[in-house]
């Protein structure tokens, strides 16, 4: 088991209604974290977090960074104590 911290911004936080929470994962994978979050928050979160095929993280208008400032993908491993930031990704304007 590993412990992963999730921090939510803007639209993500509106759905979760909490700014941050902790998950205990059996497998150290982003895919398990995503499944736990979508399972907990339902179809609206699923539509925000996952691509239309439901198999990959949504890449459009979203950004998921680990504590080192690296984007994480569905197939990426996680490390005990990692924090993943869920953000709305947009630039310019």
């Amino acid at each position: 088991m590993i412990t992963i911290h999730a921090q939510y911004q803007s639209r993500f936080r509106e759905i979760t209604r909490v700014p941050a929470e902790t998950f205990e994962l059996e497998h150290p994978l982003v895919s398990e974290l995503a499944a736990r979050i979508t399972g907990k928050y339902g179809p609206t979160m699923h539509a925000l977090l996952m691509d239309s095929d439901g198999e990959n993280l949504n890449t459009r208008g979203t950004l998921y960074l680990n504590s080192r400032g690296e984007r994480v993908y569905i197939e990426d491993p996680l490390h005990d104590g990692d924090t993943i930031y869920f953000m709305v990704g947009i630039a310019g304007g």
Partner: protein, 655 residues
Amino acid sequence: MQSRLLHVNLTTGELRVEELPHALFERWIGGSGINNWIMWEHFLKHDIHCDPRSPDNIFVFGVGPLAGTGSGSGIKGRITFKSPCYGIFGDSAAGGKFPYMVRFAGFDHIAITGKAPRPVYLYLCDGYADIRDATHLWGKNTAETHTGLNTELGDYPSHVHTLTIGQAGEHQVGIAAVVSDASRIHARGGGGCVMGSKNLKAIAVQGSGGVRVANPAGMLKWSREFRASIDKNEAIYGFKRRGTLGAVEMYQHIGSHFWRNNQGNMFRGDEIRSDNWVKKFHKYSEVCSADCFIACDGRYKIDGSESEKAKKYVGETFRRPEYLTTGSAAGALDIRDWAEVAHWGKVTNDYGIDNQDLSCAISFIMEVHQHGLLSERDIGELFGHAQSLEWGNMEDIETLMADIVFRRNLFGELFHDGPYWGALRYSQRTGRNFMKYSIYGKGGASFTEEMRPFPTWMNNMAVASRGADHLKGIGLIEKFQRRDLSKRYFNGRLEAADLSTPVLKGACTALVENQVALINSYGVCLFHWMLDPAGYAPEEHYGRAFAAVTGIDRTPAELMRDGERICNLEKAFNSRLGLRREHDTICERWMFEPTTEGMYPGRVAADMFETVLDEYYEWRGWERESGLQTASRLESLGLGDVAEVLAADGALARG
């Protein structure tokens, strides 16, 4: 493809309509591509080295082929001109209702030359065009001018939609903007100055026509599928709610703001750093254009309860600021009060001035003062009186803004072309070097975001055709670390999405510039492309819409070549003006001063800059030493005629 170009000579009063041949769309797509070609041809007959404020300059307005077709996406109009503040290629886009109304009035492009003997406005309605007296509008701001024209022209056959200048354009301020329907701003490059130099106060349009498309059923099918893909995308719902202000919280987290003239990269102030203050703009929303499926726009009306300073602005209503308006206020100038940030956006819009250049000019002088480099005598000489230069002080900032808008003192005269020229002029005048405090790329003011951790964006700031620019080669693959796109466009390689290496960053700049050239020529909003639920590739998804509208069926590879051709014409324009590799550069702060905050501390551009620039020239097929285009590459793009002009001007590489 039907298309009409209206030629307007303000010196003679001549109006002439030209039917644009279909072949022009085959070569230049439309929108910015055709605008560029109109300007290029103009300067084959007129001196390209002319003063941009002279009657010899040209002001072109154009829409893309998707405008007014019900595509749900083709909402952008574009103005193109020789820039008065940077002296090079200039253009700028804005959305809203004005662009497609120009088409409904029977025109696609307008090319304005000469200078009217007195203030005038151009009126268009259902195929008719007229130059009318605007003496009664001179001196009014953009909102008053828009209202005045609506009152004057009435509601038949449609509402009146306008392009106007404010006092900044009238005073030929180099960074003056053009404002569409009193709220959407063609900000960069000084288009408002060009209009002002021509005594052109406004363009007003009414129309009841439509747009003929080659394949109506195909267009409708594309449009329905696009709408459906948007409606089921939750990320786009988030964007509808916040617009570009959705970036505020993310940028605060990664350290991508532009604080106090980019001395830092995070906002200060308890509230303005968070999403809470963004939500205060959720009073009500509106659709920016009848032809936009995303509709990210919003409005606010201040009731006095929102913040400490809000009581001062009770009743003020305007568009919710975009991210960069917020970045310029809360970042560059360190304004921390919600109502004052909103007010900054409204005032700059009313005056008709680019708030990016303006904030960088004001924050430059504030930083010079912060370091104790301005004596009382210096301040007296610059402003004509004692002047406080306190970060975040709205009263000071409004005074400095008016100094520039009305060019009413030495500060206004020195800095009305933006921070680069202002700093250079002030350094020359005083014999002291202040350039290290000027934030610019290629002579153009920065846009108010931190870019040092992002090598593609740093390269954009140096090579963009219109000076420091985040829109012509927007570095999303890198900033959002899109490994999927890096793999897709670079044969499975990942480096374009990796911030730690210069590899593929120059290539990525060239790739995205070509894509953005396509988007701008279709007339599509960049945010539709960035968020595009149907796929990131403008050469694929929007290429199908382009085919349905024009009947021009291109492969994605052919469309990418079209985008490259458009970029090369902008480059050729600047090469004719004498720009070479040494002009593709950025300011000292970005190059050598490391970032200190956020997720990416310790970054300087110099670590990768020259390597990325070399790679950019290589991918472009341009000569590395001079930065000039080669005849062989231009000919391969069908630009042999352009190569001949460059050769005659001594602006073509020998290779």
